[in-house]
Subunit: 428 residues, 2 copies
């Protein structure tokens, strides 16, 4: 084992950057003892050098000139903590073009510009590492890349957004309303002041685009992911689902069947016994199925400064340990091996709650409308309490086509029943 | 990416070896397309060349001479599927001494001779890979080695034996007796005809020795692991635990606090909400805590030919992709950084079930005996039904020393109560 000193630079130094600094400061000696690698942070790019900071950076480390990081010939590895699309994308590209290895926690810029960034990295032989971009501390990227190579992965189910999992867990446990739990999560700092990216499912969709691309060895662009967030989830549906043995999660789902790929993020009922059902609060988890390994699940903290720093520093150690960086291969980069059209007509069971007029023939009309569209009913419950002359009906269907289901719902006229909620179900 | 043909040899070809053969046969082209590596199995060592086999090996592949595998200069990677201590240990050593990389699924030989095998590997620069030795397909070894390097890991809780997890899951769900479920598991091929290694916890202890050594960066020999199996588990305790909100698992537990390390395998009550509580049937899972990553869990199939083959082939690809094999560093190989004495006086809460005479003063005597030994009671239940003038008392204690607990139990004389069961509890 040779001792090797590695000079690195930070682009940005918010929570995650500070976490990495503290982790290297507090645990760098242990890493050095075990690996022979020592890291020196030469420059940290910040917007405002006069801003008071918790970390007491040595003289000369802070800079507000990006060139001090991406053009410094001594710096061989650049850690990107800016987040968002630009200028992160341009600066990572710039660093890679100069042969500097990039370690990033930026799911947005990475998901959108992966192809371009990887091309630049390959051209100069630089490394491109992004474990921290998906599910924080969980080594899911590394496992897909280097532990599951012998598998044809056909399904991924991920709880990849901690904010929405916290909200749904609280709604499930207390029966609280969405708006109340969101407001509380914002007070606790578990949700952003503008929560749109989390609660509308976009954050999960970026991560799913990365996971599905790696798992299926074909690029699945962000735009191909169907997205529905949790903003319309009602506690009543969570309760009705619980009575039927289901837990509600915002799942990121990717399936591959031959050349057909479907990727979707939406609230999903899963069985209470499923290992994902016990993943509570702000935790993340990824469940997958490979033809050799069978079912597998990874769980851990998907956000937070230190968990994310754990993944960043692991990438840093791996990047610095090799002279020969590896890049995933995408079949559809060369040939259209997997279909890239956006698939929105998948098949799954559905949970449907409606308020139906309590008069003869209504149930048979509903059942007939479902049947006319090829939707077959697996279970039905009528709730006791009448509301304005209407009763609550809850259906679980057998697996049906999304398209047919939507058509059936349109056909159930308002004179018969109003459909309050449709929630997709995974039975696996 | 350069194309590289790699000649490999098998030592043994039972279920796992056959699984690896089939995986390479069926998925080798995909692996080759993605990694540039192609594998040719040159020789397969078997005991009896005349035995009928499901695989139609090409002429000249099967051999009953070990030299054809470990002395063939063309073979660069040896896959060991013999299991057990000898001759697996000697043959792996021999191969490593000749500079051949070894990939093994053999927890016993590896746990017992790790130090010697690693020394031989380092001397010739050969690689030593053992992902499949612990928890089958789950990439826990690789994750500890290459994804959690920035963590001081302080706790590991593993469900690392599928046979016992299947038995305990069935006992929990049906209330069946241990003997009945074991017999059924044997009929289904989920338990060996001689189940001792599984049900007495030895298999789990070998795996824990490997996991704790890697996680704590100090060798924890197999002999240092305290072991208690599931042979004395009674359904009644599982039921009483369930009423109190606990699930019973055979846990492999490793904790490090400074220089103090404790490793133990025993039936353990964990809270129903714990992610490990939902790991059912023959699945394995490892839950751990690192100072940066926080809580993390890996779940998957811990046995079976294809899941184990998934881990073997992943090791094979990694071994063939590098010229520079890495070895874990053990602090206590050079200096006694962690204490190596067998710690048996840990602290934890306890579940105690006893049959007590239903007369005045008995409860106070029991409570006093506990108190005299520093054991404080967190919860107590008296069961309604009397049995021969005695009532069932179930206690959950606060965290107490194992030693004091055992002393207290001895002091509760038979004239007061008979202690039916003591089960350790983890509250994390």
């Amino acid at each position: 084992m040779m001792d090797k000193a590695v000079k690195i630079g930070f682009l940005g130094c918010g929570n995650v950057g500070s976490g990495v600094w503290r982790l290297l400061e507090g645990f760098g000696r242990d890493i050095s003892h075990r690996t022979g690698l020592s890291f020196e942070v030469k420059h940290v790019l910040v917007r405002d050098m006069t801003k008071p900071r918790e970390i007491d950076f040595p003289q000369g480390v802070l800079t507000d000139r990006v060139e001090d990081v991406i053009d410094d010939p001594e710096i061989t590895i650049v850690l990107e903590f800016l987040g968002g699309e630009e200028p992160a994308h341009q600066w990572m590209l710039h660093a890679l073009q100069r042969g500097k290895t990039v370690v990033t926690a930026n799911k947005v810029a990475f998901a959108l510009y992966w192809h371009e960034l990887q091309k630049a990295a390959k051209e100069t032989g630089a490394g491109l590492y992004y474990e921290a971009a998906v599910c924080g501390a969980i080594p899911i990227i590394h496992s897909l890349d280097e532990s599951l190579q012998a598998n044809r992965i056909s399904r991924i189910y991920g709880i990849v957004n901690g904010t929405t999992n916290y909200i749904l867990t609280r709604m499930s446990k207390d029966g609280s309303a969405y708006e109340d739990v969101l407001a509380e999560a914002q007070r606790l700092g578990l949700a952003e002041p503008d929560p749109a990216s989390d609660v509308e499912g976009l954050d999960a969709a970026y991560k799913l685009s990365i996971l599905a691309s790696l798992a299926f060895h074909g690029r699945v662009p962000f735009d191909n992911v169907f997205v529905e967030g949790i903003t319309r989830v009602q506690s009543e549906d969570i309760r009705c689902g619980q009575e039927l043995g289901y837990t509600l999660k915002l799942l990121a789902i990717a399936k591959r069947d031959g050349l057909r790929v479907e990727t979707r993020v939406h609230p999903t009922f899963i069985k209470n016994e499923h290992p994902l059902a016990n993943i509570s609060g702000a935790f993340n988890a990824v469940f997958l199925y490979g033809h050799a390994c069978g079912e597998m699940m990874f769980m851990g903290r998907g956000a937070g400064d230190m968990p994310t720093a754990s993944a960043i520093v692991s990438d840093l150690v791996r990047a610095a340990s090799t002279n020969h960086h590896l890049y995933p291969t995408f079949e559809n980069a060369e040939c259209p091996a997997i279909a890239l059209q956006k698939n929105t007509d998948w098949h799954c069971p559905f949970y449907v709650r409606m308020l139906a007029y309590d008069k003869p023939g209504v149930l048979s009309k509903i059942a007939q409308t479902f049947a006319d569209h090829g939707v077959s009913i697996a279970a039905m419950q009528q709730k006791g309490d009448k509301l304005n002359g209407r009763v609550t009906l809850v259906f679980i269907t057998h697996s049906a086509s999304e398209e047919n289901m939507q058509l059936a719902i349109c056909k159930i006229g308002e004179e018969i029943a109003t459909v309050e909620s449709i929630i997709r179900v995974e039975q696996d």
